[in-house]
């Protein structure tokens, strides 16, 4: 541990905060709070100065790698550059110093922004209405599936089955189960796509929905999408679109036009809001008109230029977030969409796809490409060749860290052995792409000539390879 824990800076009696003197006559504490509920022992939080805190966390930040440090080619995560102006905007006090229970009149400006964002997302996706309440992609999935559940309940149809391809994100089956469905996983065909024949066999009058990512997690566009949609719809089921890969299709295809009924967006992927080391995200849900009554309450509406929250939603699934969702993230996404505009969004997708295809072309000689189909914004390599020489995909990933670059998503999707899932995004330039490609080439060479150096990676990071098995066997989760 290069940087000690903040508690290790402790010096008894040291403080790092200031508050004004209390300006009212004080009462004896036990006169205002029952003795049973007064804390016996002060919580053992740090006793440190402001400078200690600043130095400590600055030092921690120096041990971190973000998009601002370099390429972050995590497949399905869309780690694009997070524009700084959006951070400034999200910090304007006129936008931040608002209480969620202030009256609608007080927050017209913010509601205006949110309303516009809803509209933009609807246009971009071809859906009819959007809720901004879900706070993450998985939260959006849960919301969307609860909408589907409510829809069938309303129709007095008891449908229990949700179908997901084996290449789906783990959140898909997990969300379906949380929404009370049974999950059926279907095998992809040789091209890495939904096998229409298997789907036909599986879809029946118990099918509530098919969840699909398009392009899928292999970066491959499901070319049979119209037929797939027909199969599901003819059986009375609905189509759910996992929007994780939307960066691949802006201006080229819309989930709504592909006949999807419900979808979620990941504002922290497609719309450039920072991932924050794991969150906050934001997972708005778009629906077709017939599902609008089931949207979470309240629904943002406009009447003659006045914005208001409609709480009279008898068929709604209810609330999914205590307030209005991750508002600060929405402000950033709005700013992003306005900055890029209609042309910029399309150009974004074009360059994301160009970058990915360029990398695929350059990397396929050194690494196996298990699905040699036309792919869009991401692609999946296999480290099988390298594995035979003794270096696993994990070793390759760790070796990348030695070269000061982040690793792709590994061991996902599950349909590829030793998977390396690569998504460069549009904001990386040719030099950065080439640097990553050269590094990968160098690592492939190392695996041939000096596999030990790869197997023992990382060598240059602040810590060497950490023992995850030990962490799980003997959980040490607090100081």
């Amino acid at each position: 541990m290069k940087e000690p824990l903040i508690k290790d800076y402790n010096s008894e009696g040291r403080t790092g905060y200031t508050l004004p003197e209390l300006d009212i006559p004080e009462k004896e504490v036990d006169d205002i709070i029952n003795d049973d509920y007064l804390r016996n022992e002060a919580p053992d939080l740090p006793e440190v100065s402001e400078v200690d805190v600043v130095r400590h966390y600055t030092s921690l930040s120096e041990m971190n790698y973000g998009v601002d440090s370099g390429i972050y080619p995590l497949g399905s995560c869309t780690m694009k550059y997070n524009p700084k102006i959006n951070e400034d905007i999200a910090r304007l006090s006129k936008l931040t110093q608002l209480h969620p229970y202030q009256s609608e009149q007080d927050v017209q400006g913010s509601l205006d922004i949110l309303f516009n964002l809803k509209d933009y997302l609807a246009e971009i996706s071809g859906m009819d209405n959007v809720t901004l309440q879900p706070a993450s992609g998985a939260h959006g999935e849960l919301t969307g599936l609860l909408i589907i559940r409510k829809y069938f309940e309303d129709k007095n149809e008891d449908r229990k089955k949700v179908i997901v391809p084996d290449s789906a994100h783990g959140t898909n089956p997990a969300s379906a189960v949380m929404a009370g469905f049974d999950v059926v996983e279907i095998e992809s065909n040789e091209e890495g796509m939904v096998d229409v024949n298997i789907l036909k066999e599986e879809v029946d009058d118990n099918t509530a929905a098919l969840m699909l990512t398009n392009p899928n997690t292999l970066g491959i566009f499901e070319k049979d999408i119209s037929q797939i949609a027909d199969i599901v719809h003819e059986a009375g089921g609905l189509l759910y679109y996992d929007g994780a890969n939307m960066n691949a299709v802006l201006g080229y295809a819309r989930p709504g036009d592909m006949d999807f009924d419900v979808m979620h967006f990941n504002l922290h992927k497609t719309f450039s809001t920072p991932h924050g080391g794991g969150g906050p995200g934001s997972g708005p849900v778009g629906v077709k008109e017939f599902l609008e009554p089931f949207l979470p309450t309240p629904v943002l509406k406009e009447n003659e230029g006045e914005f208001y929250w409609d709480r009279d939603r008898p068929k709604s699934i209810g609330k999914i977030h205590a307030f209005h969702g991750n508002y600060g993230v929405m402000i950033r996404a709005f700013s992003y969409i306005r900055s890029l505009g209609k042309e910029g969004l399309k150009k974004t997708t074009e360059n994301a796809v160009l970058n990915a295809n360029y990398m695929k072309t350059k990397l396929r000689d050194d690494f196996e490409l298990p699905y040699d189909e036309s792919s869009l914004h991401e692609f999946v390599l296999s480290g099988s060749k390298q594995k035979e020489k003794g270096a696993s995909t994990e070793n390759i990933a760790k070796r990348l860290l030695d070269y000061g670059q982040y690793a792709p998503t590994i061991y996902f999707p599950l349909v590829v052995k030793e998977a390396l899932m690569i998504e460069p995004t549009e904001t990386e330039n040719l030099d950065t792409l080439n640097r990553f490609i050269n590094t990968m080439g160098k690592i492939a060479e190392e695996v041939e000539n000096n596999p030990e150096i790869v197997k023992n990676a990382p060598h240059n990071t602040v810590v060497r390879k950490l023992d995850e098995a030990q962490a799980a066997r003997h959980p040490d989760l607090k100081w």
């Binding site: 002060a42 919580p43 973000g66 006090s93 017209q108 997990a174 360029y358 959980p475 607090k478």
Partner: protein, 452 residues
């Protein structure tokens, strides 16, 4: 402005390498019948300057807390946030990072989360805290689901002192799982223990109490803990963590799961989000297996150096898929970092001081209001920094009149459809003159009424 750096020449060069003529060719796999063949009906792109102007113009329509004196609380609290919080959290190595799956290049995030977990465990008096949940409402909902899984029972007694919105979120989450949420009525502003006694049986998965509760009242966790002592049902408490510098930790009362909204620990009020849920449990393997969310844990590298990783990931959706205890993936990591910085900065003394000042001020204020004819503080003397006022006067009218004096008088309970009155919150930011002005105005309103 589109943030794309490759030039047309570079793009040409790349297309050549790929072996296609133009970019459109790369989209050949998108079938014609689903092609989007028109321009987006969206505005064109704009420069930074134009964007700033445009947003500011909209933002100017807002009236914010800097223009008013706010006594609003009800789950979103306006505490002072030390300047260093935003400075540190603005370091882009933190905020532009992804979930720390590659631990060796993410030690900053991981160590900070480990510290956050440690300090949450310390404040709540529990053993294990996770790396954050989406918000207070969903944290409670997930705790209730967790209790049903652990006990294999489905009846849950939920106090009406729990934030109405948390209860609504919990209802949304638990409906598909046929969890039977049974409301426990309040006696005045406090959970009625008799109702718990009557309804607590072998089929009960959990009892849920908020501390201090939605109306500000400090619930009798000690007695409720006793009721639950020899029962299988779990004790779930939703607590506002900023009160726990002064209030006894829920962990001292036999609580099994503590959850809550962590916003009060240094997070901007931000119209309700992003905030963070927190969740803390006992060191119990059975419970740990059912705990949703990520966990940072300490371990060693091969040279024996201490470091941090995401651990016990086999519980999570990306590994367990449909068998995972929750679908949670993205959490509120950056907000957890904010809270870690806040807790470190305020420290042992400051966290108590914030609570002490807030509660002293709230009691000063409540006493004055209670003394006005036609006003009554429902909680009497048992509350922390938030209290419930009933009045003979119309609450909406009171709010309206005080708004004219630039005071946001509190939350009108009408919006939650359960009780009537005004929920007033006082943080350390409120000044004596502001409270006195509020009281004066209420007296004027009362006088006006009597003179009519």
């Amino acid at each position: 402005m589109d943030y794309i750096s490759n030039t047309p020449q570079e793009r040409k060069q790349m297309l050549n390498k790929i072996g296609v003529e133009n970019i459109e060719e790369l989209f050949s796999a998108v079938p014609e019948e689903v092609r989007f063949n028109r321009e987006f009906n969206l505005p064109s792109g704009i420069s930074e300057l134009e964007l700033l102007d445009l947003v500011k113009e909209k933002a100017d329509k807002n009236i914010n807390l800097e223009e008013k004196t706010s006594f609003l609380g009800a789950g979103a609290y306006d505490h002072y946030i030390p300047s260093i919080v935003d400075h540190i959290v603005s370091r882009s190595e933190f905020y532009t990072a992804y979930t720390p799956y590659q631990a060796e290049l993410s030690q900053g995030t991981l160590e900070a989360i480990y510290e956050y977990q440690s300090m949450i465990a310390e404040l709540t008096g529990m053993d294990i805290a996770n790396a954050s949940m989406l918000d207070g409402g969903s944290a409670l909902a997930e705790a209730v689901l967790m209790s049903a899984r652990i006990t294999r029972k489905n009846k849950v007694l939920v106090s009406k002192g729990v934030h109405p919105s948390y209860r609504k979120v919990t209802k949304t989450y638990t409906e598909p799982k046929s969890v039977n949420l049974k409301n426990v009525e309040l006696n005045n502003s406090e959970t009625d223990l008799e109702t718990i006694k009557e309804n607590l049986d072998d089929e009960t998965a959990a009892v849920v109490i908020q501390y201090p509760n939605f109306y500000g009242t400090i619930e009798d966790l000690k007695e409720i803990g006793k009721l639950l002592e020899d029962k299988k049902a779990l004790f779930i408490v939703a607590a506002n963590p900023i009160t726990l510098g002064m209030l006894e930790a829920p962990g001292e009362f036999g609580v099994d799961i503590v959850v809550g909204e962590g916003q009060s620990l240094g997070n901007t009020i931000n119209y309700g989000g992003p905030y963070l849920g927190y969740m803390a449990i006992r060191d119990n393997r059975k419970h740990l297996r059912q705990l949703p969310g990520r966990l940072a844990g300490a371990t060693e590298d091969k040279e024996g150096n201490k470091g941090f990783v995401l651990t016990l990931q086999t519980r999570e959706q990306h590994i367990r898929r449909e068998k995972a205890p929750s679908n949670i993936c993205s959490n509120e990591s950056l907000n957890a970092l904010v809270s870690a910085i806040y807790m470190s900065t305020m420290g042992k003394k400051g966290i108590k001081e914030v609570g002490y000042q807030s509660t002293q001020k709230a009691h000063y204020f409540a006493e004055k209001i209670d003394n006005i004819d036609g006003f009554e503080v429902v909680n009497k003397n048992n509350f922390f920094h938030e209290f419930w006022v009933k009045s003979d006067l119309n609450i909406a009218k009171i709010k309206e009149e005080l708004y004219k004096e630039d005071i946001l008088a509190g939350v009108n309970l009408e919006r939650f459809d359960e009780e009537e009155g005004l929920l007033i919150c006082v943080t350390e930011k409120r000044k004596k003159e502001e409270m006195n002005e509020f009281v004066n105005k209420l007296e004027v309103l009362t006088d006006e009424r009597t003179s009519h």
